[in-house]
Amino acid sequence: MALLEVQDLHVHYGAVHALQGISFTVEEGQVATLIGSNGAGKSTTLRTISGLVRPSSGSIRFDGQHIGAMAPHKIVRLGIAQSPEGRGVFANLTVHENLEIGAYTRNDRAEVARDRERVLHLFPRLRERLKQLSGTLSGGEQQMLAIARALLARPRLLLLDEPSLGLAPQIVKTIFQIIREINESGTTILLVEQNAHMALRAANQGYVLEVGKIVLADDAHKLSQSDEVRKAYLGIS
Amino acid sequence: NGEPEAVSDTILVGEYGSLSGSEATFGQSTHDGILLAIDEINAAGGLKGKKLEVKTYDDQGKTQEAGTAVTRLITEDHVVAVLGEVASSLSIAGGRVSQNYNVPMISPSSTNAQVTEIGDMISRVCFIDSFQGYVVGKFAYDHLKARRVAVMFDQGQAYSTGLKDDFIREYTAIGGEIAGEPQAYTAGDQDFSAQLNAIAALQPDAVFLPGYYTDVATISIQARRAGITAPLLGGDGWDSSQLAQIAGESIEGSYYSNHYSHQDTSPAVQDFVKKYQAKYNKTPDGLAALGYDATKILFDAMERSPSLDGKDLAAAIAATKNFQGVTGLISMDENRNAIKPAVIVKMQGGIPTYVTTIYPKGTEPAPTEVPPVTPPTADTAAPVEPATAPH
């Protein structure tokens, strides 16, 4: 059974019908990616899974359990963490404190400390800045912090909203490398990206979203070969 | 205009007062007194068979609201006369409206001189601040032999600042000395140590507190803590059974001037106290007595007046002579201020106990004599300015 199953999901923002009945699944242990142009509803999908936005109809099941109407903090406790679009670091807390908040739901202190070492190893830049107020970090540094923080929740399903946004090319590569590593260590990932190129390479399964509807769903590799995707999302004509 | 209508079989009287807000306790007492009087009047057959009815509006203790309330009473409810307010600044606001519409207004208990200066429609059944200042000053000087008195007043209350000024003027005129600068407080200071420490250091013979009992209760407690042992003096704002109940020991041995003493054995007072207790199950304070008297005087004037037209009625009120009220024998002077003696009471065992009566200057009865008819006299207090009211 799929770890995450979304069925016929509809979401409205007031009069805006942002998601118009999307269905997709993410299998345990895989990386799935959602790609699509601006305003397609990718972030909305992630926000709805995390419980920040209430669906108007449709169902979301995580590990067989319905989470469509659950409060965000309960969803996190079930094992879904998100690195949100726009990073959302706690500007008035230090980098260190931000990381601790990431592990808020966990009580295994020793394990948390080990995980913290691991993510600081992944992002050495953050180690240099542990004491700095995160609001004064550069854009890229904040992005790293947001991902690191989500990892500290040790989620079963990690939702990443445009993790490569605003990152230097080298870091983008690193990030995707890390995504693969995290995945290999057992975390399932749902990745939203503008950088379709990288995303499809990192993913097993891909979905293309257009104005609130899923228009293509396929094996990620096959998708990256398809003409439509190549033209519209990979910029190859 | 507010012409009284003769068609209905009730006569409508208006009342405005603070039934909510900081000063609600005063508005409520007055209201209780007024209702008691109305009940009595109606039980006795009303005015030539017509019942009296009172329409009451809350003004929250705010000037603008007072203006609106009186306007509405007069122009919409067409009341023949208006009763209220306690606080002088609100009586002034409401009084100016009444004067403008030529509807008589009686303030039960506003003691600031400016109230009746508004014009010929406005009168009151209480004495004015300058008299009360004189009373307390004279009492302090003559009876207590106090030569240096410290003063602490509520700077946000017209009542308090007015009484303070009048006390200082009268007391120093007799030869007394004010110890240090008068200390001011505002309703926001529940902790009065700063002022009281300063007063304690002056070691005055007495401390004059022209405030409302709500503040005086706590001031007296803190004064004793600050080491002030001199007697405290006050005005009619002190009058409430709660003062002793709350302040207890601290207020013992203090004096204040009042319109009446509920211990007064005269039948008028005892009768009133009994009826009031029966109706409300509490001891009437001075404000209740004044509300009661104001209503009774209004009714008395209605009976004497050729018509209920504003001008006639106001003239009848102004012509009130030797009306036996609960708060004494009341006559109106030519400025429509009640001339009547004040009593000084002393807090003893938690009860305001009658000490002496002080008469307006020049009206003192012969010693040992129970007051006869108090003749009205011009020489009441400070020179009163001619009315400068609009027409």
Binding site: S37, N38, G140, G166, A196, H197 | -
Partner: protein, 258 residues
């Protein structure tokens, strides 16, 4: 060719951290100049220094022949150097049209009194502002949405609106901070065309911060590379791309697929 912008040895430190040290740059008239570097290198800080958000600890900044040091952000904008923001800063509750009209403020001449009496001169100016704003919106393909609240636009459209707003000030120098971030490849291609187009049409000199190397290498005539607040390379794109220091600090090993 003369210099549109001349930056000489500027530095700024936050507490102990030297965010930018001895930064120099010459932006030649009419060029598209790239400013790249790893995250946290100090690129945005350079923009903040140029536009008066931060005051440089030392060094000089001249726009044409005019010294910019010590001027307030609004004075610098008026003098002709305008920017967009890395994290979009639009007037979210206002309409798209208003966002652009507001930026015309510094170029208007009638005073408040004229506005209150609606004098002919003022009304003519208002009409001119509206006309001009609509022309700009049209260039950026935003005209159909002129009445929408800016915050409701999709991300890419918001980025374009920010550029349109900047252009409404008649700038000489335009500073763009990661304009392509969050855009998909197709939109990035469109953006390339757009940047080139406005540069020609408005006679601009552009300083561009961007992490998308495809875009930078394609449209920039010159590139400055920043690392740890210091310039580590400066020159033609092809030269910069081959510079080992740049590869080491920023680009990483050449991408297999490119």
């Amino acid at each position: 060719m003369s210099a549109a912008l001349h930056v000489d040895n500027v530095s700024i430190a936050f507490g102990g951290l030297k965010a930018v040290s001895d930064f120099s740059l010459t932006l030649r008239e009419g060029t598209l100049h790239g400013l790249i570097g790893p995250n946290g290198a100090g690129k945005t800080t350079v923009f903040n220094l140029l536009t008066g958000v931060y005051q440089a600890d030392h060094g000089t900044i001249s726009l044409g022949s005019q010294r910019m040091n010590g001027l307030k952000p609004n004075q610098i904008a008026r003098a002709g150097m305008v920017r967009t923001f890395q994290n979009i800063r639009l007037f979210g509750d206002l309409t798209v049209l208003d966002n652009v009209r507001i930026a015309c403020w510094s170029r208007t001449t009638t005073n408040t009194l004229a506005a209150l009496f609606r004098t002919p001169a003022h009304m003519a100016e208002e009409a001119a502002i509206a006309e001009r704003a609509r022309e700009l919106l049209d260039i950026f393909d935003l005209l159909p949405r002129e009445r929408e609240q800016a915050k409701n636009l999709p991300y890419g459209a918001q980025r374009r609106l920010e550029i349109a707003r900047a252009l409404a000030m008649d700038p000489k120098v335009l500073l763009l901070d990661e304009p392509a971030a969050g855009m998909n490849p197709q939109e990035k291609i469109a953006l390339r065309g757009l940047i080139r187009k406005v540069r020609e049409q408005f006679g601009l000199s552009v300083l561009l911060i961007e992490h998308d190397m495809g875009l930078v290498m394609d449209i920039c005539e010159r590139i400055t590379v920043l690392d740890h607040g210091e310039v580590i390379a400066d020159g033609e794109p092809s030269a910069v791309q081959r510079n080992p220091k740049v590869i080491e600090a920023y680009l990483g090993a050449p991408n297999e697929e490119d």
